[in-house]
């Protein structure tokens, strides 16, 4: 597909005054050491309102993920947005960019109303989004991707592809964001390029549309320090030219450096609107996790139980090294930001993702899974994150769904009668109290909480020693959550070891005996229930704090893998499905 259609550019402002790349690179804006002083040097008068949001809200099922009564974004500013996983950051961005359809409320951009749920409308009003997943067409060249959906500006041809003009403009677009000609070969297929380069192409693509409002969603998470600093400079440059940048960040130091104003979201609400001077790291974390301390409820410790799962120097793609011991009857949480390797850890232990190094033992014997079947055979049951994609056959009856992992066991000499299947299904669903008309209903017709309970029943039916949970309460309502916590407690009381990855810290604090914190795939903190606080978890997970030594053989921060130089977030193997933020 090389046909580039001729949608006119959303805004015909002239290209940014040609600042030579060398000069862009030379400007010193992002002194990591002196964020406060940097903020004072860029006093931009708050210009006209670029984006006006009134009563904008969005719910997924029973969960209200975004609720903004009033928010104005001004021209000439970089506005940082921070929040925990699920705080509503990504929903806010998606709502502005049109990829998420808001349930209600008004948004106007430069005085013109923005139609909900239309990316075309958002683009026409000058909104550009650089997201964490790169919507680039891998088979097309860099140049074709950069000009996807429009024609070169200076091409005279109306119908045919003007390759020289395409290349010229692509080179110019890359130069505009400070990539000199030749740094990125514009004729190469995008899929052959490494992730950081793709991220830069994505930025150049958004930049080339001359956006009035540029939304950057954790743009530096996949970049090295040099490119990362460069992106921050670009954000400042756009603001200096009168544009608005919405900068979603997970590294707090970065957000403080680059922003004129910092918004903190929590549970979909705007809880703080700070100047960079007010926004100390401690203050931001406090606002992000909320004032109240989540009280851990008293919980019996499994004393003297044997170690069931033992991980030593476990590594896998995007994970490790991880050292962790899990006792029978113990619930250990896995916390971390998006892309920190929570799901990877679960998948690696389950055998769904190959381990690349280290040792795993289960009840003292070596465990080397090649596929999830080996995990099942070793007594592991996993409940994956995404019910629809990874757990259920949604159109099939409940009966077939809950018996999937035990078909072989409940068969006699390979044969399985419908009466036997039905009886097993009824026993399983009754054991976890699934509310339904009959086991013949399609499981997709049940509520999220009921589906999840059915999946728990199915996992328990395999009589596992180790239960692996990934986001066990995603997309279920509050009442159903409590019931699922009970099921998890019940599993531990029965002597199962439970490893539960979750983006909801309250949840982990509520159910876990210990919490392991991952940061860029590595185990950076292992916190006992008594000492666990949201602040401590966030501090370890957000990665600006030095990596603490973890009792029981924590990882050595190798020189080539310091916190500054994050390993790439390779998201192709285990999709860490986006959180609700």
């Amino acid at each position: 597909m090389t046909v580039l259609d001729d949608t006119p550019a959303p805004d015909d402002r002239p290209p940014p005054d040609g600042i030579p790349a060398s000069e862009v690179a030379a400007r010193d804006v992002t002194g990591r050491e002196a964020p406060a002083s940097a903020a004072t040097t860029r006093e931009v008068p708050a210009g006209e309102v670029t984006a006006r949001l009134r009563d904008v809200h969005k719910s997924y099922g029973p969960v209200r993920v975004l609720d903004l009564p009033e928010l104005d974004l001004h021209a000439g500013q970089v506005v940082g947005v921070v929040g925990e996983n699920g705080a509503g950051k990504s929903t806010l961005m998606g709502t502005l960019a049109g990829s998420v359809r808001r349930d209600g409320g008004d948004i106007s951009i430069g005085g013109k109303p923005l139609a909900p749920g239309s990316t075309e409308a958002a683009a026409a009003l000058g909104i550009a989004l650089v997201s964490q997943e790169f919507p680039l067409v891998g088979q097309l060249s860099v140049a074709e991707n950069l000009l996807l959906g429009r024609r070169p500006r200076r091409s005279r041809r109306r119908l045919l592809v003007d390759r020289p003009a395409l290349r010229r403009e692509a080179v110019e677009m890359l130069a505009e964001i400070g990539l000199p000609a030749g740094a990125v070969p514009v004729g190469r297929q995008v899929r052959t390029l490494p992730v950081p380069t793709r991220q830069m192409i994505e930025i150049a693509k958004a930049w080339g549309r001359r956006p009035r409002l540029l939304i950057l969603d954790e743009p530096t998470s996949s970049l090295g320090p040099v490119e990362g600093a460069h992106v921050l400079r670009l954000a400042r440059e756009l603001a200096a030219r009168g544009g608005t940048v919405l900068f979603i960040g997970h590294r707090l130091d970065e957000v403080r450096e680059v922003s004129d104003r910092i918004l903190v979201l929590r549970n979909g609400r705007l809880v703080a609107d700070l100047t960079p001077e007010e926004a100390s790291e401690e203050r931001l974390i406090r606002e992000m996790v909320g004032g109240e301390v989540a009280h851990a409820r008293p919980k019996a410790e499994p004393t003297g139980a044997p170690v069931l799962l033992s991980l030593r120097d476990l590594t896998a793609d995007g994970l490790g090294p991880v050292d962790l011991d899990l006792h029978a009857g113990e619930i250990v949480g896995v916390a971390g930001l998006m892309g920190s390797g929570r799901s990877r850890l679960i998948h690696t232990v389950a055998g769904a993702q190959p381990a690349t190094g280290g040792r795993m033992t289960i009840a003292g014997s070596r465990y080397r899974p090649h596929d999830p079947g080996d995990g099942t055979a070793a007594g592991i049951a996993m409940i994956p994150e995404d019910r629809k994609e990874q757990s259920l056959v949604v159109f099939a009856p409940i009966r077939s769904n809950v018996t999937i992992p035990i078909l072989r066991r409940i068969s006699t000499r390979g044969l399985l009668g419908p009466r036997r299947e039905r009886a097993e299904a009824e026993r399983i669903t009754a054991s976890v109290n699934v509310r339904m008309r009959s086991v013949d209903q399609p499981i997709g017709a049940l509520s999220g909480g009921n589906q999840q309970r059915a999946i728990f029943g199915r996992a328990f039916a395999t009589d596992p020693r180790l239960l692996l949970l990934d986001e066990p309460t995603r997309g279920v309502d509050v009442g159903a959550k409590a019931e699922i916590y009970e099921l998890i407690d019940r599993a531990a009381e029965r002597g199962m070891a439970v490893l539960v990855a979750s983006s909801e810290l309250e949840e982990l604090l509520w159910i876990c005996h210990r919490i392991a914190v991952l940061n860029h795939g590595r185990l950076v903190d292992l916190i006992d229930r008594a000492e666990a606080t949201k602040e401590r978890i966030m501090t370890a997970a957000a990665g600006t704090a030095p990596i603490v030594a973890v009792p029981g053989g924590g990882p050595e921060p190798g020189p080539e893998l310091g916190p500054e130089q994050a390993p790439e977030h390779v998201s192709e193997h285990v999709p860490e499905h986006g959180d609700a933020s």
Binding site: V63, S391, S400, R437, G444
Partner: protein
């Protein structure tokens, strides 16, 4: 986002429809097989009323023998489709199997049973090859079976140099032209294939696992089901059944004709789809598949009996397929089922 499945209420009738009608529709919609069986009866009745020769014993026997061809292919094809794949090679493979059997028997002088056995083994090998390519090397099923389709068609012509092989053992024609009571033996093969496939799919754990694999491959994998083995076994079953069809066909015609089998794979796929098999996999039952094959045969034969212009026959068959797909989608939409 997976926040909620489409239906949150446990028992949400579509708005606006009277409750009784809804219940009836729901029953019908939940078993698409019922619709196909009703269609079979209606079509048979309508054609029988308009074409006197249609219900004659001779014609019914012809239909029975026809069913042994496309019907048996449809059974194997359906098993592959249930895993979420497709097998385009069945028609060509059936043709090649007939040629191979005849060639082993006539040109190589092997006794008929041995020739048949050898042919079926080769077919099983081809199916295994399909399965391995699909599961290990991730080749799209469409592509790899298209390769076999082309090669098998070419081989059939190459072995025979384009001329039919005569003089095959009488066993073959005995097999294909005999009757038990007044039922032609090949029709019993069709019945047998349906019953065995039904039993394997619905009464063995392997069959239930095939449904799980087709319904959601990732869920099946994470639940510890050996996905690759289940998928491979489906391709082997399909190829072996194609081999059986090839053997039955040469017996029926008493000669091995290299042009046999071309286009049959499409009829087999059509029968599966009409019978309620979802091309996305994981959905469809043997009863429906059998009814789908029978319905297509009723129509094809009926058009001849009604003396419909040959040129319009495929048009009608295509229209039936289109209507079946349309109804299936409407059904899915009516129930708000979640589909990829």
């Amino acid at each position: 986002m997976t926040a909620q499945s489409t239906l949150t209420s446990e028992d949400a009738p579509p708005r606006g429809a009277p409750a009784a009608l809804t219940r009836v529709l729901r029953k019908l919609a939940e078993s698409p097989e019922a619709g196909v069986i009703i269609a079979c009866v209606l079509v048979f009745a309508v054609i029988a009323a308009n074409a006197p020769t249609y219900t004659s014993v001779g014609n019914l026997q012809v239909m029975g023998r026809d069913l042994a061809q496309v019907g048996i292919l449809a059974v194997g094809e359906s098993v592959v489709i249930l895993t979420g794949g497709i097998d385009l090679s069945v028609g060509a493979l059936a043709g090649l199997a007939g040629i191979l059997t005849a060639w082993f028997n006539v040109n190589q002088g092997l006794p008929a049973p041995l020739a048949v056995l050898l042919t079926l083994l080769i077919c099983a090998g081809v199916g295994f090859w399909h399965g391995v390519m699909v599961t290990r090397l991730n080749v799209p099923p469409f592509v790899i079976t298209l390769v076999t389709y082309t090669v098998a068609q070419g081989l059939a012509l190459a072995i025979t140099t384009g001329t039919p092989i005569n003089g095959i053992a009488p066993l073959f024609s005995n097999l294909s032209q005999y009757y038990i009571g007044r039922v032609p033996v090949p029709a019993l093969f069709f019945l047998g294939a349906v019953v065995i496939a039904w039993f394997a799919l619905e009464r063995t754990y392997v069959g239930r696992q095939i449904y799980a694999v087709g319904g959601n491959k990732e869920a099946a994998r994470l639940a510890g089901i050996p996905v690759a083995r289940r998928v491979t076994s489906a391709y082997v079953a399909s190829a072996v059944l194609a081999g059986v069809v090839g053997v039955l066909v040469i017996g029926r015609m008493n000669v091995a004709d290299p042009s046999v089998g071309s286009g049959w794979e499409l009829t087999a796929i059509a029968a599966a789809v009409v019978g309620g098999v979802s091309l996305f996999g994981g959905e469809g039952r043997m009863v429906g598949i059998a009814a789908g094959a029978i319905l297509l045969e009723f129509i094809a034969n009926g058009l001849l009996a009604l003396h419909v212009n040959t040129y319009y026959q495929t048009v009608v068959q295509g229209a039936v397929l289109g209507a079946a797909i349309l109804l299936d989608r409407l059904r899915a939409r009516f129930f708000g089922r979640i589909r990829r």
